[in-house]
């Protein structure tokens, strides 16, 4: 055998030097340098989610219509689960893989400050600021700048099964308060109509924070102090909300499987008729009333979120379309976004997701799609509560999710869980 004399020492030295050569690459501007206006024509790529709001079929249909109207632009949409959306946007940012990205209301602070999405304040027509609903406008706004255009305006509503409530003799008007919901659940449970009247999305995920936010708001709590400098969820309404959640578990009113459920699980369990009441996004009204995917179709009604001592704010669960920082075809991306977010397109697909435009709620065609849903939305969307608008929100959310579950599973007292969460989250503000 011929022996290949590899200079072992030289190789080792090269390996040792490697980190140094790698270090040389770190230098520059901490922002995408490849983005560009583009010609306004050609191919663009867009990243959407495959969950609540507009369905994949809706978005593909909208895109087909768009391409018919703008034949010089072709759009290639990609769909991922909500749980993967954030990380996909981050991972794809340096390469500029997507021209258009759908972002959640909790991300503008993070994505805007890191230039993962572009600042579109200059292109944002003044009329939109008055024509769009306040809650929608906040979706893509951070520190006075706009980083995208609101597209999905959503909050969590109270859905109930009319048949079960009827059998238990519960008057639906009593569901306007959380106390009323508890009383109704207790009545349903004692009548043995369902084992656990309530189902929630309390899995260790953002879904848990959405439910918690809505309850925190109802009990008059706050996430952070008004100057965003200190934690406020560990006392007052924040603590009361968690204690209330735990009590519904201890009393056997909440399905214990809530702790492993996301919104889709809530929808399925509710659609099976295994729960009498549930909190969920707008899309459940349509889905749970669809005989093809629900056993309780025609027996589902919706109400604005119930109130407690602090009122009845809904959680702001809106989403916006943004031009990504690395896009090389930002002009065409903006054309596509302007089309998808237009009142015309949003009104057409109101059945899946309610429009962001104020006028749409008086448009007979929109109202007729789901009169009860629109009525509930009109009331709830008037007062929304936001999750903290800080760049390190995701980390705070992770900590809070884990500690809330500690309390819900009875591993920690609610006071201790929230105090522990506050201690960990303090340094992230």
């Amino acid at each position: 055998m011929p022996e290949l004399h590899l200079p072992r020492r030289a190789l080792l030295a090269a390996a040792a030097l490697l980190p140094l050569t790698a270090a040389c690459d770190v230098g520059g501007s901490n922002s995408p340098d490849s983005g560009g206006e583009g010609s306004g024509e050609g191919k663009i790529t867009a990243l959407f989610m495959q969950q609540a709001g507009y369905s994949e079929a809706d978005i593909r249909a909208m895109t087909t219509d768009f391409q018919a109207k703008y034949p010089k632009i072709t759009v290639e949409p990609t769909f991922v689960a909500y749980e993967a959306l954030h990380d996909k946007i981050v991972a794809a940012a340096p390469a500029g893989t997507y021209d258009v990205v759908l972002i959640d209301v909790i991300w503008p602070a993070e994505f805007g400050s890191k230039k993962i999405v572009t600042d579109v304040t200059g292109q944002f027509p003044a009329a939109w600021k008055t024509d769009m609903l306040g809650g929608a406008l906040k979706t893509a706004e951070y520190q006075g700048k706009y980083y995208g255009v609101p597209w999905i305006l959503d909050s969590k509503y109270l859905f109930y099964n009319t048949e079960i409530l009827g059998k238990a003799g519960v008057d639906p008007t009593s569901l306007s308060t959380w106390d009323g919901v508890l009383a109704a659940a207790a009545k349903i449970k004692s009548a043995n109509l369902v084992k656990h009247p309530l189902i929630w999305s309390w899995k260790q995920a953002e879904a848990l924070i959405c439910d918690y936010t809505q309850l925190l708001g109802a009990f008059g709590g706050k996430f952070l102090s008004d100057d965003f400098k200190s934690i406020a969820f560990d006392s007052g309404g924040g603590l009361e909300a968690l204690k209330w959640m735990k009590k519904t578990i201890d009393d056997g009113l909440t399905n214990p499987n809530s702790m492993e459920s996301l919104e889709e699980d809530v929808r399925k369990i509710f659609s099976e008729g295994s729960a009498a009441m549930a909190l969920n996004w707008t899309y459940m009204f349509n889905a749970a009333n669809d005989p093809a995917q629900s056993k309780v179709a025609g027996k589902v009604e919706v109400l604005p979120t119930p109130s407690a001592s602090g009122g009845s704010p809904g959680v702001n669960g809106s989403m916006a379309l943004c031009v990504s920082g690395g896009s090389k075809n930002q002009k065409a991306a903006w054309t596509y976004i302007s089309y998808l977010t237009s009142a015309e397109v949003q009104n057409k697909y109101a059945k899946s997701s309610l429009p962001c435009w104020g006028k749409s709620y008086d448009d007979a065609a929109v109202v007729s799609v789901a009169p009860k849903m629109v009525a509930a939305a009109k009331k709830e969307l008037a007062s929304l509560i936001s999750r903290p608008e800080v760049p390190r929100y995701n980390e705070i959310s992770q900590i809070l999710q884990a500690e809330l579950q500690q309390a819900l599973l009875g591993k920690k007292a609610p006071e201790k869980a929230l105090a522990d969460a506050a201690t960990q989250a303090k340094s992230l503000l």
Partner: protein, 294 residues
């Protein structure tokens, strides 16, 4: 003979480039990043923090909780896999009809992608309509449906172990089957003639001769189990109450969800150090086997 060296070098070059490009370069980059404070996906100038990220990690209770889960998962799953794999290997080695069919069936779980296996077990264990709940209640072993993945963090971790064991036992079994086939049957026969029972034959002859294979497969599985990520991602998402969060899952959360790339890189390097130690043990074992074979 010397003339062949340039040709050899040329032939090796593509492989060397690939190794450099996809292994050494990223590994070097990650090491550098772990000493900086990178908080954005874009290239740029980031502050140097030295061992700050490592210090942060080692003083963070979340890391130690994740380390505990990882260690438990590794020990529990590999132990079960080896014990069950050993039994399975014996069954597959036994003379019987359609042995090829049984062998093919046993390899199936291992052939499934981990993501598919995780999704399958998530459905089996589903609290509302899972097959396990249906089976246990129909057999009257349980009165009521039970939440396997949401009620108790430790139970959920054990369920992840079960899913992993179901998939990887077959790999261990096949390794050990190869080891068993290499043991001359005469040794067992001789021992039996001398009056040894089955158990004694297993304990005194099979097991000692199987030891090198056993050690190799054990180290291999420990390394794999230590890096567990995908099955956790699919089955539990790290919950409930972070009870199934392993080190690699925490790495992912910190690096991508929180955009603390440096912290994530440092976490990854801690995993690398642990895996490297295990790999060294593995290589040493392999060398010992080669020596014995000579």
């Amino acid at each position: 003979m010397r003339k062949q060296a340039p040709l050899a070098a040329a032939l090796l070059l593509p492989a060397a480039l690939v190794v450099f490009g996809v292994v050494l370069w990223p590994a070097g980059r990650a090491l550098v990043i772990s000493f900086l404070d990178v908080d954005s996906p874009f290239p740029g100038a980031y502050p140097f923090v030295g061992l700050g990220n490592y210090a942060d990690i080692l003083t963070n209770p979340r890391f130690w909780a994740a380390a505990q889960h990882t260690l438990y998962f590794t020990v529990a799953s590999t132990t079960l896999e080896v014990v069950l794999g050993l039994g399975l290997a014996h069954l597959l080695a036994a003379p019987m009809r359609f042995r090829w069919l049984f062998r093919a069936i046993v390899i199936l779980p291992w052939a499934l992608p981990t993501i598919v296996n995780g999704a399958m077990w998530r459905w089996i264990l589903n609290a509302e309509y899972g097959a396990l709940n249906a089976l246990l209640t129909q057999l009257h072993l349980m009165d009521d449906y039970h939440s396997w993945l949401g009620a108790d963090p430790f139970l959920a971790l054990n369920m992840v172990v079960v899913a992993d064991v179901w998939k990887n036992t077959s790999l261990v079994a096949f390794f050990l089957l190869a080891g068993l086939s290499a043991i001359p049957a005469e040794l067992g026969e001789a021992a039996r003639i001398d009056g040894a029972g089955s158990f004694r034959v297993f304990w005194r002859i099979t097991l000692p001769l199987l030891r090198p294979t056993l050690a190799a497969v054990l180290v291999l599985r420990v390394i794999e189990a230590f890096k567990v990520f995908d099955i956790v991602y699919v089955m539990t998402g790290g919950g409930p109450a972070s009870g199934t969060q392993t080190i690699t899952f925490l790495t992912y959360l910190q690096a991508f969800s929180a955009q603390r790339f440096s912290y994530g890189a440092a976490l990854a390097y801690l995993t690398v150090v642990a895996v490297l130690l295990l790999a060294l043990i593995y290589l040493r074992l392999l060398r010992q086997q080669e020596m014995r074979a000579l």
